[in-house]
Symmetry: C2
Subunit: 362 residues, 2 copies
């Protein structure tokens, strides 16, 4: 009614958005000086800095990172590709990544590749368009090792987490990676089972070929051989509760029934325990069962599941820190951060310690 029209600068994101130039005018200095203040340069005098900051506050100035990035070629953003976000384990990893990035002023684009390489490729393409400073990648199963070379060609720093794709031969071993020592974790489990008297041990679960499978399997083989036991009882199946339950028959109808089933992860183990129960059997009494991951429900199941705790959140934090280092120094030597798993003995493997009151709650 009164005013003729709101000033609508069409190009700007918000009608009345404040730019660095306006701040400069208000503070009585030049654009360049304001820019230096923004970036915390030690060059500006304390008195000037305060004046500029006051002006920014007074005008409600919002830093336009898009504009800054166009010139400066760094964006304070990273891409985070997880292969299965709905798995609580990866959710925890994501939270860990966010923890570190938040304190460093970075933000992450997220993508759930759902184990689909085409979705993974599409997202990486978008990450390039958005000019991220780097990516954290839990490669989808079936990812070609050549992908890493492509990332190198793009000069896009990349840290792999939890899994890594098999490196192409020519490109010198070693890439940035943060993950769990699957092999050692599995070996600990085997050692524990063997100490309990088990001799015939099956390895159960996993269909997709990736490093996390390979590491576990290597651990199984190595430990069994070390103890002079047969390492040929390997049953592959999808990583779901249902297929874990379904594999019980398979397991029990062997010529020589195993006395222990070391499962790929907790989900399969929990499923297997259900399958046993449906047949009137009980984990820990009729068959020792162990898992991997220590998901919250592992402590809760009956019998509670013996498993290997892997701190997903911490791995996320390490991966993020590693990526930030790599962004700061693209040429530095590759690092591999491998956290140990921790054996958590509960009742499912028939250990004697099984008072309900000592059961740990999440």
């Amino acid at each position: 009614m009164a005013k003729p029209r709101d000033r609508e600068k069409p190009g700007s994101r918000n009608p009345g958005s404040v730019t660095l130039t306006e701040v400069a005018g208000h503070a009585g200095v030049s654009r360049s000086t304001v820019s230096l203040v923004l970036r915390g340069s030690p060059l500006v005098a304390a008195e000037t800095r305060e004046r500029v900051q006051a002006a920014m506050a007074a005008l409600g100035y919002i830093y336009n990172r898009g504009a800054a990035n166009l010139r400066a070629a760094r964006t304070q953003t990273v891409g985070l590709l997880v292969c299965e976000l709905n798995n609580p384990f990866y959710a925890e990893l994501t939270a860990g990544v966010d923890d570190v990035l938040d304190t460093e002023g970075f933000v992450a684009f997220i993508a759930n590749t759902a184990e689909q390489t085409d979705r993974q490729d599409r997202f990486l393409q978008r990450m390039r368009e958005h000019n991220v400073d780097g990516v954290i990648l839990c490669p989808a199963a079936g990812t070609d090792g050549e992908l890493l070379d492509r990332l190198d060609g793009w000069r896009l720093p990349c840290v792999q987490a939890l899994r890594f794709v098999s490196d192409s031969l020519e490109s010198g071993r070693g890439r940035d990676y943060a993950g769990v020592d699957y092999q050692a974790g599995i070996e600990t489990v085997i050692d524990h089972l063997v100490a309990l008297g088990h001799r015939r041990i099956a390895f159960v679960g996993g269909t997709l070929d990736h490093s996390a499978y390979a590491g576990r399997h290597a651990g199984f083989t190595a430990a069994m051989r070390r103890h002079g036991l047969a390492d040929d009882l390997v049953l592959r199946c999808p990583l779901t509760r249902r297929s874990g339950a379904g594999i019980a028959d398979d397991l029990l109808n062997r010529p020589q029934t195993p006395t222990a089933a070391l499962c790929y992860n907790d989900v399969v183990a929990l499923g297997l325990m259900l399958g046993l129960e449906a047949r009137g059997l009980r984990a820990g009494r009729d068959l020792a069962v162990t898992g991997f991951d220590d998901v919250p429900e592992a402590a809760l199941s009956r019998p509670a599941l013996t498993t290997v705790a892997t701190s997903a959140r911490q791995i996320g934090q390490e991966a993020a820190r590693l990526l930030l280092r790599r962004i700061a120094d693209p040429q530095g030597p590759p690092e591999r951060i491998i956290l140990p798993g921790r054996l958590v003995v509960r009742q499912s493997c028939g250990s004697p310690s099984s008072s309900l009151h000592h059961r740990d709650l999440s």
Copy 2:
């Protein structure tokens, strides 16, 4: 060795990055035409379009969204703030959001506010700097209703998910929201418990005040009154397994012990069941217990938990779709998408149907 030096344009993100101008040169057209092709404009002739696309492919052109956005003031990015990412429920929501954004060519910045409003504020600030087109917000507990007015002032489209902050009075009711009908879900549970003969029912869990608590509590009160029952047995506690277990004593040492405990969510219910067991009692026999959410372990616990299934992934999808509509039309009328919960009857409330073989696996 051979070449004197790689051409290093310092300002550009990658040494040899290809720009729109170079594509134009290669295709023998102007910058503007290439730009039109990029945006799929119908103005360019088919023959020209093909020539440009061939040039882009030949040169390995990568679209620079940062540059585009500087001028065009839209970024094809959104912010996603979840209050508790490590909760599998929110992880599922995130996956749903990602599903929809992926098909629409958007990407999401993620943040885990961990129920901390300062972290939430900080992230929103960054989202403004990155000039996102909108945000999906699961507001942290304790979020001031005034935040939404601030977002309005910033012209930042916002869709709330799963929770909403109480609207400030002056700003006309109704904001975009996608969530679960908590109240109806709880009422269904009460109806079921009453049908089973329960008369004294406790409402257990929840400490933070937000809409998701209020909705559940309203459902409890409404349904109890509808049945002519007392609605005063409300025990608040943190949403953890441990405090769920701890509340068992509280519950059983009442003057009139309730016969049923309707828990805020599955986590509390599962904890309560453990607490009962530690006291030699059993859910479904000595006390009916119900949850909310239907997390995977609900089907797995012993006894299996009666609960209300809420499709987190679908809510994420709806929230994302809603936000995209809002971005396209900032002035349109607000929408509230409220999905119903689905009562899943299992054994923990003492229902007769309890064959192990019919138990559902995830």
